[in-house]
Symmetry: C3
Subunit: 138 residues, 3 copies
């Protein structure tokens, strides 16, 4: 989100294809668990929908890691993930949800946050990647 | 494998350089443990050779995560990793094993699945990367 | 480090932007813990500064994994991370520390190893990435 918003602020055209473990950042943060069968609901429990509930990729320590990061980020004026996502959308970053991930996790369009592009597959992602000046797989 | 097979189906030229933790997807799935000393054999035990034994990058839960994913994938017609790998090979994707990884893990060419390119090093990978329209480090 | 040093040996121009969890490879390996408050010092404890103290991304087993890797690497003449880093610097690889990471972790320039470029942000990284023939996000 930091890289995407910086790029957009530099007047670059930015597209993000969001798939698999990163996908729940695009799911609305609300009480009802998305998913259409018990396996999908269980995966939703494990991943707790919403960008504010993403964990750190390392050093979670039962939530203490993200909390410390949040404190430090606040102190040094680094934006929260949620604010960065909104900033990206305001700056015109196009965010594409991965159709196959939605199928696997049993997510519908109404489960996702507003302002996203239509869900696409690997073919569209590849087209974007080959036309781009730079592509980062994060 | 999904991205590679999609790209090949779109008539793109695709090369995959397989290294380190991803490498055991190229090792034949059979009883004998590859490796030439106890450390290499121990690393083989930990990584259980064969693409059908790859774990999820998150949420393994003692095998329950991959099992659920497998069920959901079957339900939504997403191919298994093994089938995707074979599809890639049929579509002409070139798969390059990393020579240094083979040395470190004590793997010989006869330990690997058929139809791969000759093992290469970082120099060949870099040449492929700089000539490509797009390179993903996954 | 292997890819960067190989590329530099092939006369390519190489820049590395080092950020977040990878950052402590650039911190001097010495007794005093960097960081300006308890949270930053605690993050330093968790990440033990210095490239020789980096862990494997998988299979650490309380240090046994890295030790085995080190033994195997020595046997097969694969250089240690510390040597690879020095080789990169001698071959002219430009290493850019991420300014925001330094702020968050409370690191000052004197905490870092010698021979680095000036700290930069995402904008400079993006400029390097879009001008490059190939960019890997590792």
């Amino acid at each position: 989100m930091i890289i995407a918003s910086t790029a957009a602020a530099m007047d670059m055209e930015v597209s993000i294809f969001v798939t698999f473990w990163g996908f729940h950042a695009l799911v609305k943060d609300r009480r009802r668990l998305p998913g259409q069968n018990w396996m999908q609901k269980m995966l939703s429990v494990m991943q707790r929908p919403g960008i504010s509930h993403r964990k750190l990729s390392k050093m979670n320590f039962m939530g203490m890691g993200p909390w410390m990061m949040f404190q430090l980020a606040k102190k040094y004026n680094v934006s929260k993930p949620k604010d960065l996502l909104e900033m990206c959308q305001q700056l015109g970053v196009k965010i594409y949800p991965c159709q196959m991930t939605m199928d696997l996790f049993g997510l519908k369009k109404e489960d996702l946050i507003d302002g996203l592009e239509e869900p696409v597959g690997a073919a569209t992602m590849l087209q974007l990647a080959t036309e781009a000046d730079s592509t980062l797989f994060i």
